[in-house]
């Protein structure tokens, strides 16, 4: 579903935001991208939904080579990918309904379809009672739910989420994670960037890619990779 081969991304100068990253996520995978701040997690997600272009390497999303994708093809690729942004990117002065419906509006769907679909998605994220509320009046957790609802409204095959639980308390974090798991259970590939390791442990069977200063330092099944990392950290502390 998502394939990255020796991908580099540089923002001018010598320093690479991503350096020789090779990574894959198959259909129905739950993939965590983790690492400290500035490791390149957000950049990686941006490359996948064409907000940025790789400096070098090959990226394939659903069989489409992004390096060869024309500008006119980008919107159609984005319709296959739902994105939950770190800062939500909601229209505060618009209602929950309008925000979620926007994804369907831009594809030119008829109004009746949009109404039906948005209500269905709002039920999924538990916001059906708040469809007419302005987004700016919602709590952080609720806003995150709206962002997730918008991301999945158009039935994407991939959902990308950038630190979706960054500013939320533990209880809400678990609720949001459960939402992503539900989305994943329905067959959607989920790629979730987080620096929260606890989150990774809560999704059995997930894959993980660990980034450090733009390099992929470990990748594989989350449980194994995290166990190896922990062992490494313990041994390095022992050496010290």
């Amino acid at each position: 579903m998502i394939q990255l081969y020796h991908v580099y991304k540089a923002y001018g100068g010598e320093q690479h935001a991503l350096h020789d990253v090779t990574l894959t996520a198959d259909k129905g995978d739950f993939l965590f991208i983790t690492g400290p701040s500035g490791a390149g997690k957000t950049t990686l997600l941006k490359l996948i939904f064409c907000a940025e272009q790789a400096t070098r390497g090959q990226l394939l999303v659903d069989g489409i080579n992004l390096q060869r994708l024309k500008r006119s093809g980008v919107p159609y690729l984005r319709r296959k990918i739902g994105v939950v942004f770190q800062d939500f990117k909601l229209l505060g002065e618009r209602t929950v309904f309008a925000n979620v419906g926007l994804t369907l509006e831009v594809t030119g769907r008829p109004r009746a379809y949009i109404e039906k679909k948005v209500r269905q998605i709002l039920r999924l994220v538990g916001l059906d009672a708040k469809e007419n509320h302005l987004c700016c009046r919602l709590s952080g957790g609720e806003q995150q739910r709206v962002a997730i609802a918008r991301a999945v409204a158009a039935n994407p095959i991939i959902v990308l989420a950038d630190e979706p639980t960054g500013n939320l308390d533990d209880e809400i974090t678990l609720e949001i994670l459960e939402l992503f798991r539900e989305i994943n259970r329905r067959g959607t590939t989920v790629v979730l960037a987080t620096h929260n390791r606890e989150l990774i442990e809560k999704v059995p069977g997930a894959k993980v890619g660990i980034l450090r200063q733009g390099r992929l330092v470990a990748a594989g099944v989350a449980r194994q990779v995290m166990a190896q990392r922990s062992a490494l950290e313990i041994s390095s502390q022992g050496v010290l």
């Binding site: 919107p75 229209l91 926007l102 994804t103 008829p110």
Partner: protein, 297 residues
């Protein structure tokens, strides 16, 4: 394109206009005033030019013949000049006919001829010219050629002010094109600025729309329609204003007879259609100027 989508674009365009009603009003007024000025120039130009055409059609040259010339010689002269390609018609007016015409035309002054022993009016040849020749302005050359013929005493073609009028029309045309061109550029700039401001006020939404898969066309379309609506609205206002102005001018002002007569045959339908077409064009151009800049990758 689906009707539903078109309705959606139209609704969005109206929302844009409604978001900044003052700005929209200023834009509409600017377009209307620019087009009104342009319309006035066009009207005056069309009017005067049409008058000139008519005068050209009626243009006449009179060749007065020498006293000594006989009617047979005059007939030879008439048939010679009648063969010239510029000449549409030619009439020989004898001394007696000239006198009779003078008497009938100027009855109140007819008395001044009573005391004269003989008829002082000369015989003449009256030429009407081919319309295209009459308008070409090369009457002077023809009259000189006519004057060189033996038996012709003097040539008159009168209406020297027509030449002045022609110069005036040419100047008008030049000023109209310059002013009109500048006004049209200014109008495009105003529309483009309005679209730019609307775009700025909605930039967050548009950015999100792009991120969730909106095509450039989907983002542009409501702004293009907004520009079109502004252009069309301004054109309608200008057409209405111009019609009112014409009604006012011809009912309250004492215009020269010819211009007043022309008013009845002004191509108002064409002018309004032209206004609407121009308004649409200006609207699209204005929108495209700003959108091209904003939607650059």
């Amino acid at each position: 394109m689906r009707i539903g989508l078109l309705v959606y674009f139209l609704r969005k365009a109206l929302e844009n206009i409604w978001t900044n009603p003052f700005l929209s009003l200023v834009t509409l007024s600017t377009i209307a005033i620019s087009m009104l000025i342009l319309g006035l120039f066009s009207l005056i130009y069309l009017n005067v030019q049409q008058s000139l055409h008519q005068m050209g059609d009626e243009l006449q040259i009179t060749a007065y013949l020498q006293e000594t010339i006989s009617s047979e010689q005059a007939e030879v002269l008439r048939s010679k000049v009648a063969d010239w390609p510029e000449v549409e018609g030619i009439t020989y007016i004898s001394k007696e006919q000239a006198l009779a015409r003078f008497r009938s035309q100027l009855r109140e002054y007819a008395g001044i001829l009573e005391g004269l022993k003989e008829n002082p009016l000369p015989a003449s040849l009256e030429l009407t010219l081919m319309p295209q020749y009459g308008r070409s302005g090369n009457i002077k050359e023809l009259s000189t050629r006519l004057g060189r013929l033996s038996g012709v005493a003097e040539v008159q073609y009168g209406r020297k002010w027509m030449a002045k009028l022609r110069v005036f029309v040419e100047v008008m045309k030049l000023v109209g094109i310059t002013v009109g061109g500048l006004l049209l550029i200014a109008t495009i700039f105003v529309i483009s600025n309005t679209i730019k401001l609307t775009f700025y006020s909605r930039r967050e939404e548009l950015e999100i729309m792009r991120l969730v898969g909106a095509t450039d066309f989907f983002i542009k379309a409501p702004f293009l329609i907004e520009g079109l609506l502004h252009g069309l609205g301004g054109a309608l206002l200008a057409a209405g204003g111009l019609s009112l102005l014409i009604l006012f001018l011809f009912s309250h002002l004492d215009l020269p007879l010819r211009l007043a007569v022309m008013a009845g045959s002004l191509p108002m339908g064409q002018l309004v259609a032209g206004f609407l077409g121009l308004g649409l064009l200006l609207g699209v151009l204005g929108s495209m100027v700003s959108l091209r800049r904003f939607l650059r990758p």
